[in-house]
Point group: C2
Chain length 210, copies 2
């Protein structure tokens, strides 16, 4: 298996955690997003969105979109499960993952911030935008799991929701968001960071880290 990614990409980080939790090995192929390597024609032929991650499985099949990749890994390698069995619980876990992966992360990614700069916004307004997106994205997540038993987002083991949360909190810190208002999210993050699968997936532990 090959995983095309970038050390600081939240979406790549999610898939790295999933691979580690499942005990799956992949060859990591970095694409330097800040140098625009995701727009190389050879990469666009794999992933027309020009985004990371992209998974190439052993038969050469190409899968894009981090959540689709994680669902595939969960369906083909059952242990440990990253999505619970009960349909209603599955929906609640997926909804939290999507609150972050749909409504938060893409609105503050590199491409969006670059576009804001092109439109003439000064750097502090661009950083302010990213901080706003993270605050607005994380606050409802705190409420959504307020009554869930911990320590993880949904109970005693990590799910796809935690795989989205940990990278998003790292982004929020990078943009200067005060996370003190989110104690339940921080509790889930602390539990996750105690696991080697999460620690080994962290951006600063990747070969392409700068």
């Amino acid at each position: 298996m090959k995983l095309h990614g970038y050390f600081r990409s939240s979406a790549s980080y999610r898939v790295r955690i999933a691979l580690n939790l499942k005990g799956l090995r992949a060859e990591h192929l970095p694409h330097h997003l800040r140098k625009g390597e995701q727009r190389d024609p050879a990469y666009l032929a794999l992933n027309p969105q020009g985004l990371v991650p992209t998974l190439q499985d052993d038969s050469g099949e190409i899968i894009t979109q981090s959540l689709a990749i994680i669902e595939l890994l969960d369906e083909t390698h059952h242990e440990p499960p990253l999505i619970p069995n009960d349909p209603l619980r599955r929906a609640k876990v997926r909804a939290l993952a999507m609150a972050l992966a749909c409504d938060t992360h893409p609105v503050q990614n590199l491409k969006v911030l670059a576009r804001l700069r092109e439109l003439g916004l000064p750097d502090e307004q661009v950083t302010g935008w990213a901080a706003w997106v993270n605050r607005e994205g994380l606050a409802p997540c705190e409420t959504l799991i307020a009554n869930e038993p911990g320590p993880f987002c949904f109970g005693s083991a990590p799910t796809i929701a935690d795989l989205c949360l940990v990278p998003q909190l790292a982004n929020a810190r990078r943009f200067g968001v005060d996370l003190a208002a989110f104690p339940r999210l921080l509790r889930a993050e602390a539990a996750a960071k105690d696991l080697k699968a999460f620690a080994d997936a962290a951006p600063d532990r990747q070969p392409d880290a700068e």
Copy 2:
């Protein structure tokens, strides 16, 4: 079942199509997004994100996030399937849905456009932003399904990918995007629009349409 939504919301539109395809009835409870009704405390208690749709099932359970709702409906009401059985095909179908539902729609939603106005961007730049997001979002989708047999995104029946595509194309038109470059997407849309389940879910067919 109750579906909290808004006639013009793409995410509500996706779920309406899913309910119709599955032959499920729901009471439709509109929340007027342009009047800010999604921020009423009573609604925020159901959906802390202040977004639509929200599904309340017959036992009162609350599910947010359109794709999580559709996956739940697909898991609990199997016919017709909206996601294929084969894990790799599932991943490809989900990836297209997510290219639209994660990387496209949230970057051009009402809240983001309102924020751009607050930052001082004139109306034509805000509309230009929305058009840019739609073009950038749809173009890779055209490539991703270029070699898929039609007429739908993935074969002879609609999937969750079509449920995301049809509302997104409506958005793109609303923002003035020239869709001539996307013949494969338009072919899928035409097939979908021939189905009563899609036609009945269209924004202008909803009781709250203006």
